[in-house]
Symmetry: C2
Subunit: 280 residues, 2 copies
């Protein structure tokens, strides 16, 4: 009897696959968040695991928002959706409860932010539908694995994101300009970054633009609308990816009677590996 056959028969081994280890890390991170012991951003938690943007809307808006995601897959890559009234999201992981499993939420009434909370149990309603959208942390992980330098770590920047004049395709009340995130690279590394992110269509995919910020309506590249400030070293070219902040802009336009989103950077940690989202 081979060792593998023996292990399979007796189940006595403590062997865990890299995937098992990653998912165990994801579940531990969600448990920390649910218990209220982690209120900060989720960047750096649960390595190799997909983190997601969250939007929660009343069922009456769900069809239009779903269609908005379908029409604008680069900024709004839908990776999970709940049943109306059900806060659980089994398609993205075990025992995921959208009411408690993110570190911070923003609550909107008629398009205006009214509250920021760490638990939305009190806000939950029987008609709410949760949408989970892919996030650039997944492809940043793939870029870093490929050895490409991410300037925000070098300079201590936040992710820089900008409103643009690239219009989304409207659906019902949802519309507005695309938000893009920017990372700068040497041209050689930008070519690699385009290749790598092309493999991840479910987390924004290939960039939508590079170079001149003016042509997509960015007025001052050093002053992003989101992220505070930017620095681009000599010899780098800015490269722009569709950004998950776009649906929040669309929600601002739509002014739904009620809405909950994650707070920027305070993401939903799933049980999915980033590598599972690679298309090739």
């Amino acid at each position: 009897m081979t060792l593998i056959a023996e292990v399979a028969e007796t189940g006595t081994t403590a062997y865990q696959s890299p995937k098992d280890i990653a998912i165990e890390g994801a579940r531990a991170a969600r448990a920390e968040i649910r218990a209220g012991r982690h209120r900060d951003v989720t960047s750096g938690m649960a390595p190799a695991i997909v983190q997601a943007n969250l939007a929660i809307l009343p069922a009456e808006y769900a069809a239009d928002f779903l269609r908005f995601c379908h029409l604008n897959p680069k900024p709004c890559p839908l990776i999970g959706m709940t049943e109306p009234g059900d806060p659980m999201l089994p398609m993205l992981g075990e025992d995921i409860d959208l009411r408690t499993d993110l570190p911070a939420y923003r609550v909107f009434k008629d398009g205006v932010e009214t509250d920021e909370v760490t638990d939305i149990g009190d806000y939950w309603r029987d008609d709410l539908v949760g949408f989970a959208l892919g996030c650039s942390l997944s492809f940043e992980s793939a870029l870093a694995d490929a050895g490409l330098p991410l300037r925000r770590y070098e300079y201590g920047m936040k992710t820089c994101a900008y409103r643009t004049t690239i219009e989304t395709t409207p659906s019902g009340p949802f519309r507005g300009g695309m938000v893009v995130s920017m990372r700068s690279f040497t041209p050689e590394n930008a070519i690699r970054a385009i290749q790598i992110t092309s493999r991840f269509p479910e987390v924004h995919g290939a960039p939508v633009h590079f170079g001149d910020p003016d042509t997509i309506g960015i007025k001052d590249i050093l002053k992003p609308e989101y992220g505070g400030w930017a620095k681009i070293p000599e010899g780098d070219t800015p490269v722009y990816w569709a950004c998950g902040i776009t649906p929040q802009v669309a929600i601002e336009y739509a002014k739904p009677s009620f809405c909950i989103t994650h707070k920027a950077g305070h993401m939903l940690i799933t049980d999915k590996l980033n590598a599972e989202f690679a298309s090739l």
Copy 2:
């Protein structure tokens, strides 16, 4: 009995697959060239078919040149090689005879061009080895199929190619700067072009650079060393691919006692489909 089964059994159909038709076109083109009825460039002949750069060297140089190709796969993507002394290249197609099947050849002695001929039968020797290298016509065909505009057709330019300061990795006497070809695109189309050409590593693959010509040692982008002149419309970014002229520069450095190459644009037409060279 189904129609397909009947056809398979009786063999009475005149059906030709797109591949059959393309290869028939390739063989007809080679026959025209071999018969001396076509002496011009091969661009536009045998649609969908791989055309190749040719270098023929005495066997004493073959190992170093083969290693040069191996060390520099982007400018020198080796797709076929003959046995020493054998002018036939069966690995790239039926009845390909390197002595007669290209419209024009250049003959070099000690690194100096001594002749330009349309048939190298009189120059053939028992120690010659032929090397066929992938060519950008293949990826240009994929770019055009994807709907990307190629400016050289709009403006009536030749393919623009430049000597650069990007050094190849030397092997024996073979060395020198990489030659790059340039095509300009809007940033959005450049992203598509990077994606598409990444699929074709055997015909130069992804670009090696985009944007600033200075950083790779190109002094005047409007005056290419090969191709005469260039025009880049407002809003376009120049994108640079490793070019099959690079091995000719390496041969200039090596000054082999004897060498034959194709004349620029007068390529070897193979029996291989461009699509067969797509890696994904």
